[in-house]
Structures are given as C-alpha cells and as structure tokens.
Amino acid sequence: MGIGDDVIRMVPDRLKVQYPKLSDFSQPNVITTTADLVFAWARSRSVFPFTYGLACCAIEMLSSGFAKFDVARYGMEVFRPTPRQCDLMIVAGTVNEKMAPVLKRLYDQMSEPKWVVSMGACATSGGPFYDGYNVVNGVDKVVPVDVYIPGCPPRPEALFQGLLELQKVIRQYKFVPELPEVPEPAEPAERS
C-alpha cells in the first residue's frame, strides 16, 4: 500500500473537488495533498513512547515490546528513558502523591506535540487503591489524558488496542493550527 492510498481515503469527500487530480500533472512521481494529513500519517506511525512504568502494568508494557507481542509492528518500539526524545507518555501503574509532581514535570519537559495514555485501572482512576492515603485517583488530575486502557493489568493486546486508538487521535492533530474565527465587521448603522 502506497502512501497515497491511505491519505486519499482520509480526505473528506467535500474537499476532494478542491484539489487537482494527479493526472493533471505532467511530471511523474508527484503527489499533492495537505500538510496536515501527511504529517499526521507519519507521526502516528513513528511514536516514541516514554518509559514510564510505575507498577505491575510496566511488566505488560515491557512484554509488549518483546518479540512475542512486538509493538514494533505499529512503529512504536523505541522506548526512550528521557522525556526530551518522546512524544507519548504511557503511564503504566499507580500514581501516588509524591510521584505526581515528578510526573507533571516530566510531562512538561516533553516537546510538543505530545500525548498521554493512561494504562490500567490505577492510572485511570486509582484502581484498587482508590481510597489509599497516598494515591492520586487518576493521572488525569495531573496531566491531560488522550486514551484510557482498562484492565488490571491490561494484557499487551489491550495496550495495542489503546495505541491504535491513539493513532486515530494523532491523525486528527493539525500541523497548521486553525486560525481563530474573525467576527464579521458590524454593518454601520443606517442613518435616518
């Protein structure tokens, strides 16, 4: 499957008429598309996850990286231990109150654009420790979360489904930010 097939399928029908057809170009090896679609397509297939294992979910996360499950199939195998090189934070495990400011700081150190996946019951809602004296009930109280994965812990397949859902989120990312709507100038009041 070429790059064009996937991208063209994602173009809404109402937009297709606005672009010239490929046959309009005399030169070969030229495609035209929008920058958003190409960048989002590429970005969703080369995600760099941040190794943020906090508890037993981390075992499943590591297991998903090994040969039996192999997250490399989705272009995400390069787990990085530094936030500077990552654009996805997989929060795998219980977030406690002492860890929360650290997590926030590391999230802030990641460069834009960035996404967060909350893996497992603990990171999503506190899980079995929801009434603990030192547990943050959900990582979404600290950082914004894009995808929640249920399970205690989720199997690697569940993590993969979450990551595939995340790819859909990433593909909606606008490379060029939308301009704010400019209000139309008010018509001058008619003079009587």
Binding site: E97, K98, A100, D131, Y133, N134, V136, K141
Partner: protein
C-alpha cells in the same frame, strides 16, 4: 577491630543462657521463637545503653537489619531485628512505646544504618526518635499531615492539601 565471622560455635540453649546471664533483666521475657531467633522485651529507657552493649558484646550483634513499627492499639511497639554474624542468629528487641508520647532514643550513633528505618517509623507510625540527626519524612511528601499506618488515622482531604 573486625573479628572473624562465624567462629562462635554455640547452641541455642547455650546462647540463651549466655545472654540471660550477661544482660539479666535488660532483656526481659527472653525466649526462643524460631530455631535461630531469640526474642526479648526491652524497657524503652534502657534501649540505647543496651544497644551499645549488644554491639560491643562478644557474641557480636553488630548488624541492625531492620526496625519495624507495630500499632497494638493500646500502645505502639518498635521491633529491632539484630543479626550476629558470629553465631548466625537473630535477636529481636521488642520495645513498647506509649501512644501519647511516642518517643524513643535514636540508635543511629550505634548502628548508622538505623537512619532511614527510624525516618520511616516516624513517617508512617509517628514514633519520634530523640537525637536523630535528620528526622524528616522519607516516603510521604513533606507537607503530609498525620501518620497513616496508625490504626486511628483517618484519611481526610486536608491531610494532603496540594492534590
């Protein structure tokens, strides 16, 4: 001077008799709990002097392995797990601590490794160790209020205000 390790050949009965003879009432209710473990109740005011004597003793309880803190509701208890590399035996010191004024003398000057264990006992159970060089919380945040492993601890939102 470091002594040769594991050279004291002694049976548990002889060890029991030896400790009872040398320390007398200092190790109250001394008893054999496991094949290699002796348990003794210790008066809290005598703890520090006893610790120094035990470390300097010929049987060599030179290692403080762990300090545990227990909430017995009526009172608190600190348990010092000592290990002797010369006899390969354990000695547990059970120290009763009153709830109201939960204070103990530090043993960091005897066993420096007691530092973090005493900080944890302070953090979780609220036992204050007099003479500790740096008695801060070790696991919870510094602005946490209360000692959560006590049985009467009630978790309230104001105990952790920053969340």
């Amino acid at each position: 001077m470091a002594r040769e390790v594991g050279r004291v050949e002694i049976t548990m009965e002889a060890l029991f008799a030896r400790l009872a003879a040398d320390f007398g009432d200092g190790l109250g209710e001394l008893r054999v709990q496991e094949p290699d473990t002796l348990v003794a109740a210790v008066e809290r005011r005598a703890l520090h002097a006893l610790a120094e004597r035990l470390k300097a003793h010929e049987l060599g309880y030179e290692t403080l392995n762990f300090i545990a803190a227990v909430d017995h509701v009526r009172h608190l208890e600190a348990v010092y797990h000592l290990y002797s590399w010369h006899t390969n035996t354990w000695l547990e010191l059970h120290v009763e601590v009153p709830r109201g004024t939960a204070e103990l003398d530090t043993v960091t000057d005897v066993w420096p490794g007691a530092d973090w264990h005493e900080r944890e006992a302070w953090d979780m159970m609220g036992i204050r160790f007099k003479g500790h060089p740096d008695l801060r919380r070790i696991l919870l945040k510094d602005d946490f209020i209360g000692h959560p492993l006590r049985k009467d601890y009630v978790d309230r939102a104001e105990n952790h205000p920053h969340v």
